[in-house]
Amino acid sequence: MDFFVIMLFIPLVSGALLTVVGEREWAPNLNIIASFGTFLAAAGLTVEIVANGPRFAFGEHFFIDSLNVFFVALTAFVGLTTSIFSGPYMRNEREHGKLTAARLRLYKSMYQLFMFTMLVALTTNNLGILWVAMEAATLTTVLLVSLYRTPASLEAAWKYFILCGVGIAQALFGTILLYFAAERVLGQTGNALLWTHLVEVKGQLEPAIMALSFIFLLVGYGTKVGLAPLHNWLPDAHAEGPTPVSAVLSGLLLNVALYAILRCKVLADGAIPGEFAGNLMMGFGLFTLLVAAFFLSRQKDVKRMFAYSSIEHMGLITFAFGMGGAVANFAGLLHMTMHSLTKSAIFFAVGHATQKTGTQLMEDIRGLIRINPLIGWGLMLGTLAILGMPPFGVFASEFMILTYAMKHHPWATPVLLLALGVAFAAIFGKVQPMVFGETEAKRLPHAPAITPVFLHLGIVLMLGLYIPPYLTRWFHEAARMLG
Amino acid sequence: MISVSGLLGQTFAILLALLLAPLLSGWVGQCRAWLQSRSAPPLLLPYYMLHKLFHKDVVLANGASSLFRAAPFVIFGCMVLACAIIPSLSTDLPLAPAADALALVGVFGLARIFISLAAMDVGTSFGSLGGRREMLVGFLAEPALLMVIFTLALTAQSTSVATIVETMARRDFVIYPSLAFAGIAFTFVSLAENARVPVDNPATHLELTMIHEAMILEYSGRHLALIEWAASLKMYAYSCLGLALFFPWGIAAGDSFAALVAAIPLLLFKLAIGGFLLAVIETINAKMRIFRAPEFLGTAFLLAVLGLLVRLLLESRV
């Protein structure tokens, strides 16, 4: 059996199945089982790739190497934990009368389809299909964001759709230009959009076209990553969608978009002399980081705040990849992993917290540690982790990024310092009173799933202190591929 | 190391201090009376006082704690130590290495802390007022004294009082302007530290102006005797320190017993002059308001620092 085929097959089929069977008592479990199956297949695929090296699938249209298998594993894992989390969460939402059975059906099927599109985007070798999958991921999540059908969620979904649609149209223009450049070298074959072919001839691609193409790709996919000033859809979509969706948007979709940029950056770097792509990314990264940090201090809605935090971290990661080089790439990959795990854990905790208190306004949430110590501690530790406090793993990557920046781009460090400081003050100043203090407790109809929160945080903690050697090799391999 | 004559000299110096200190107080009192055209009290009045106080019962306030009772002994012990290490007759003092000039300031500080705490112990209005004022005087006087000592220590390249005195005594006669600054500062500090006019008035019981007296209001009997004795020891110590630092001639340098004996009349003479001058100062000055005291001591501090700087500017040969 081919792990890869199974991995793509399960979410597609289960998505269809969930649409057909509708909302049943066991539907959430089916969702979890499907995600678990995807995760197992992804794990199997990962082991296979780590052991045997890169491979193709479906002719040359899919290509799995150490770079994307890493994202695949991460996506499948977070997909699994999110599905576990969403079980009791969505039931509670239904009890609270926010959702109907039909919506829950839509949610589950779209969730699986969303996983499918992301996995396709991650594994495809064809930059055109990558684009198609990204657009499809947008479409599925638009429906997820507007799940509550409230004016706010509709507005958020509309903005999400239009902004990301336009963004991704620009990415398509970039892809066309890329094809245009590739065609001159590879000829009128179907191979001219295959990354593996492109990367072999990247030195011969016309620099002028590649520069233009990269600008379009960066602006296009960058909209999806949430780079400022293209980020405007992101806080709305995160804040108004259901929390599991916020978790996967923040933890996974942003990563996938950034992955697309990274694949293109490899080509641009090969074609364009100098550090054109890297400089652009560094500029965007720093600007995003700074802007997001200042946004943070003005937030009132907890999910919105953590959405800005995601923007901030995406800025930092983009900056890291912009610097380039094995260390920075490694740090960037590590930071993506840590951010995905931590941010989704935070959203899980936040989800339960908002359900408990019935509000997303931070000033109305108090004393979580008294309502439920585990949620309280989960949110507190998750926040500290995302703020880069050791011994959590986010610090490990921030450590590498900061020291590397200090060494190679010392001019950037004051900006980094300022942004991280402001972000710390903003987030921590708001989360601390939410967790601490006094409150009146309320019980939820369905006991929250706390395991995913601490599972994620446990992994993040472990990775902060000890990164297993095979993981290191894998990361190094991926970082090396990025050049 | 420690010679027999040194030990003898040390013991002698301590005994002399214990004996002479009340006399010095008496002498100053007498001089003051003369200068103010009053009939003078007997020269030995302090001794009578001590005798009387020792024989009286101790009357303790209800709120007094064990610290209150221990303080006079601690203060007395501190003053004895101070007198032991200041070369009054000879510089050959076995106890001298125990505390150099900085530690000497520390000894005075320790005594001050104890007396202030004791003053606060009973919990009366005047007691805490006195304690506070004493600390106010102290925190300005102490650094000024330290600076004076620094100036001299720089000249002598030592903070050991004995070494300073030896260096000062042995030097050729050169005019050190810094010493003038230091001397004036030292005088100011001494006046403040010993509760003399213009900072405090040892003879007053006018409640709102007093410092030292306010602190010891609740003491009686032997405790009061010890405190009074310690106060006179302090004045003696300051006088000897001033004399030793600024007029060191005549203090026996070695362990020769003859020189030591010869130093006694000279010391008495110098103390008599010093006491008289103190009386003069007290007579021609009026007591200041309490909030003038910081300015007064601040001036002392400033002068001492100036002395130090002048010393560095004009007299260093680096």
Binding site: I369, P469 | F73, A98, M120, F139, Q157
Partner: protein
Amino acid sequence: MTSLLPIDTLLTAACTWLAIGLLGLVAPRNTRFISKTLFPLGALVGVLVGLVALGSLGGPAQTAVLVIGLPDLPFHMRLDNLSAVFALLLGFVSAGISIFAAGYFRKGEGTAPGVLCLEYHVFLASMLLVLLADDAYAFMVAWETMALSSFFLVTTDHRHEEIRRAGFLYLLIAHIGAIAILLSFAVMTGGAGDYSFAGMRSQGLSPFWASAAYLLALAGFGAKAGLVPLHVWLPEAHPAAPSPVSAMMSGVMLKTAIYGLLRVSFDLLHETIWWWGVVALAVGLVTALFGVLYSTVQNDMKRLLAYSSIENIGLIAVGIGLTQIFHAYRMEALAALAMTAVLYHCLAHAGFKSLLFLCTGSVLHATRERSLGKLGGLIHRMPWVAWLALAGVIASAGLPPLSGFVSEWLLLQSFLFSPGLPHPWLNMVVPVAAALVALVAALAGFAMVKFYGIIFLGQMREPGLKDAKDAGPWEKSGLVWLALITLLLGILPSTVISRIDAATRQLLGTGLADKLEQQGWWMLAPISPERASYEPVIFLVTIAVALLLGRWLVRHLYHGRVRRTTAWDCGYYFQGPRAQDTAEGFSQPIRRIFGPMFRMQRHLPTARDTAPYYTVKVEDHFWYWLYLPLAKLVGRVSTLVTILQGGRIAVYLMYSFVTLLVLLLVARP
């Protein structure tokens, strides 16, 4: 298996602390098990750490590499003499605090005891790891874990708004400081990318980059130590924390910052530039003066002590600055003297300040009161605490014969021998600095008299104080332990210095031990006995003999009758507790003399007031000069930035469009 090296023992100790902490989670609500079993165990480990560190002093440096850490950067550990001195401090002082804590933590005060136990022991272990860390990553991990665990300890009683605020401020400044430290390390790695300390040592940085590294380290470690103007968290966090935690933070944690500063400036940076010393000296002086002045006007006993800690850290920084100046001019003997003063003051302050904080803990438990204005006369009800606190007070005031005096004496000595520096400006400035140090020392006495006098002496200001109970046996033993440390450090300086001299020699290449060993153990004469000497034992014995002899004579020659009656007080009729000085009243002279140093809001009663009252509120200028404007600035920028998110989709599209256009027009490969 080879024999167990000290470093292995210390690492095991750190693990044991962690394990003890985790054990606390087994039965998080079982106060008895946790306080009477786990905390004493922790104390035992502390003693062990102290002994091992003591034993390893003077030996060669030992290293270890752990499996954990980053892929290319496993945790490097190293025990050298500098770490050993501070590990010694950590071990012995924490032992006393843990013993005290065994009696202190009770049910129903904030966080569950089990969680508290975890936080506390993680705090201990992380401090030990900070001292042992030998690469940037291990150091930062341990450093921030320390900050984090102490943050949770500070917010133990998180129900109070101001405690949460204090914790937030603390963690914020600690984190910003940590980023500065991180950048400093990054600079020190140079281009090599080797983050181990060994790699940093071998870097020959240019003066510019070395200075950058030093200044970053000064800012970073200064934020943790409480150097002005990064001190603001300290007077908030210390009062907020439970007393054993305040003691640990003030006594031990601040010293880890000093350790870091020493490590960077004398070990990792191979060259010292003279003006670094001037910077440290100036910052130290300002800090010391600021700290002591503010400590005199505080009305909360723990705030008073917190400001006093700021003062002491300032003095330590002065010493470091002096050492750097001497070291830069190759005057190694003097540098060694100043360095000894620094190390000694670290030890001394750790002892007496934790002693004092623990005493406030006992007072707090006995009276539930932190405000000085509501205490008084506790010496009658709590004699143990009172007399032990007196030891701390005397040491803190820098008076002989206790520990504080020794370090101050050494510091002044090193000032005294400073002339001869080949720099005329320094020659002039340094004595003035000495004068300020003297002033600070004297003011510290004022603050301490206020602290002690108002809490323990006088009449009880509140009727409730009559029920105050003295500390329990566990608390007492902790206090006695720390008082003993203070006493021993006070009277055996020569012995102690000849032990810690190994660290001085490691950092500067020369030390004081040779000279000290020529003289007896009782004598402290760092240069030569003719130049300066101090014999605390003789000093103490002389005073004691005079005291006892006096007492004996008085007892035997005169009768020893004592009568009790009401106080005399010049015959003044009203003698209630309100007649005494209040805490505000006591510090009135300071407020008057140093008025411009404080930001004061005063209300003075007039003669016509029907209900006259007097209030004074003293605040920190730095809030208004630095922090509030900064916060306002961030707020303004945030307001500007949020314009970006105006809600109109057309505008959002335009951002995207303009970005694209700008890139198309401007960006060129």
